[in-house]
């Protein structure tokens, strides 16, 4: 097992190196960055972070991003729950084709949708709102949520449904009170993946916003100015975008393994 440990340690080191470099840059002054390569910050500074936390045009970017990501996650799960139940429990006309069509949307290139989404959301007056981005991200997150949830629901024995109906539960009562708690870990995994894919997407989020709902990822392009790149600030903003993801992974670490175990991502 020694060889396995070496392989893994090396791989993790390689994974961490670019992230370390980003953190390293974020703690340096710009003079230090451009004056030569240093392996760690010699003049440790938190100035870059202070600027982000005190400038509303910076931190509002984070708030906007979190807003549409949470909105999208809630929407995707709420819509996908009944659909996933239908797919896992019943056969109906066109079910297989429908499932494939849904999945194919998970694979659709965002670039294809950028321009029509811009037209569509401008036409219905949602342009530059978090709701527009949240709805747009449903394109790939709803099919994904249906897929993951269907896997978890198929793992719940059908006898439970039948017993509940015999006991006189109505469908909605049964679904909310009994069934949903049974697939709680599935919902956790789904929330994780919806959060993840909405959080990392930029192309649609940037196309559908201009000022008021601008995501942090788009704000980051501001660091290019006439006087050159503000590398330190850019790196600090980058580090701060990694943190929410890291937090989310930490909370769902035990569920991820389960979600992956179903082979559905």
């Amino acid at each position: 097992m020694l060889r396995a440990r070496i392989v893994l340690t090396l791989y993790i080191l390689l994974l961490m190196l670019p992230i370390y470099w980003l953190v390293n840059m974020s703690l340096k002054t710009n003079t230090e960055i451009v004056s030569g390569l240093t392996l760690w910050p010699h003049n440790l500074t938190f100035e870059n972070y202070r600027r982000i936390f005190t400038d509303p045009s910076w931190y509002s970017g984070y708030l906007n991003s979190l807003q549409y990501v949470v909105l999208n996650t809630v929407l995707s799960i709420a819509l996908a729950l009944p659909a996933a139940y239908a797919f896992s429990r019943y056969r109906f006309v066109g079910d297989k084709h429908l499932f494939f069509w849904l999945l194919s949307n998970r694979m659709a290139p965002a670039a294809v949708f950028a321009l029509p989404f811009f037209n569509l959301y401008s036409a219905i007056g949602l342009f530059d709102t978090p709701l527009a981005v949240a709805l747009a991200h449903c394109l790939f997150n709803v099919p994904l949520a249906v897929w993951i949830l269907e896997g978890f629901m198929s793992g719940v024995p059908r006898e439970i449904d039948e017993t509940a109906y015999l006991d006189g539960y109505s469908f909605s009562h049964f679904f909310v009170k009994i069934f949903t708690p049974l697939v709680a870990s599935g919902i956790g995994v789904t929330a994780f993946f919806c959060f993840m894919f909405s959080w990392v997407e930029l192309l649609l989020a940037r196309t559908l916003t201009s000022v008021d709902a601008k995501p942090i990822a788009a704000t980051m392009t501001r660091t290019v100015s006439a006087s050159g790149m503000d590398w330190g600030l850019l790196a600090a903003a980058g580090v701060l975008t990694i943190l929410p993801g890291a937090l989310v992974i930490w909370f769902v670490r035990n569920y991820i393994a389960k979600g992956f175990a179903l082979g559905r991502v």
């Binding site: 396995a4 392989v7 893994l8 791989y11 390689l14 994974l15 961490m16 190196l17 992230i19 470099w21 980003l22 451009v34 392996l39 929407l75 659909a83 239908a86 797919f87 019943y90 109906f92 006309v93 297989k96 429908l98 494939f100 999945l103 194919s104 949307n105 694979m107 659709a108 290139p109 670039a111 294809v112 950028a114 321009l115 029509p116 989404f117 569509l120 709805l135 449903c138 709803v142 993840m196 959080w199 990392v200 930029l202 192309l203 990822a217 980051m220 590398w231 980058g238 975008t241 990694i242 993801g245 890291a246 992974i249 670490r253 393994a257 992956f260 175990a261 179903l262 082979g263 991502v265």
Partner: protein, 294 residues
Amino acid sequence: MDKPVNQGAWLLVLPVLLIVAFSAILPLMTVVNYSVQDTFGNNQFFWNGIGWYQELLDPSTDLGGRFFDALWRNLLFSLLILLIEVPLGIAVALSMPRHGWRVAATLVVLALPLLIPWNVVGTIWQIFAREDIGLLGWAVNRLGIPYNYTADPLSAWVTIVAMDVWHWTSLVALLCYAGLRSIPDAFYQAARIDGASRWAIFRNIQLPKMHRVLLIAVLLRFMDSFMIYTEPFVVTGGGPGNSTTFVSIDLVKLALGQFDLGKAAALSIVYNLIILAVCWVFYTVMTRMDAQRN
């Protein structure tokens, strides 16, 4: 697995159907509409039939040449990253601990790159690979190998492939690991008693268990690399020249940069059809595999 037939289930699927139709079919109809028309501005449109498609699929025209160049480039890129990420992912998955606290710790660390916004992945590598302020670029140049991703196409390719491997190998590894976890310890003990070699265990016990997840991993990695946009765009902007302009980058240039709506729309439709076809092949193979297993 005999599920009861119930047409009422359609009602449960309806909300999903509506939202996906709203975000997929409606926009696609606009795209189809644009793809058969030409415009000279002023919101005046003219019927152009299959003109754009003919131009797009003919490599001797300007548009067609551009499209096929981007397409081959994109396929080469997908092939390269699959060739690296799949074996590397398997190797990492095989090295992961099976018990104890290290499992959770390893999972968290491996999943980290997957949760970084794609443009930040680009930013990380943009900084990391620069020859003046980046550790990688600086180190490679110190070794006497000329490396500059903004000027040299080969360096640009190496950077983008390395970035994708860094970004996505974890996904392959985590999927494979999930497949491996379903193997009971008794199998390994039996293999040890039989004196099976490391290779024999891999070939006969581990690989068969990873079959399905590997298929999913290849599908996801192919699709996502085939529609890659943000990461290379941040690092190279499609350059130097056009050397890293992939299909999505080209499409966004056409649609949002030049507002060449007809051409962009025709390209979108063809692009989507290719993806749909590949997706369908994978889906059929997968359902057939499931049917065999049951």
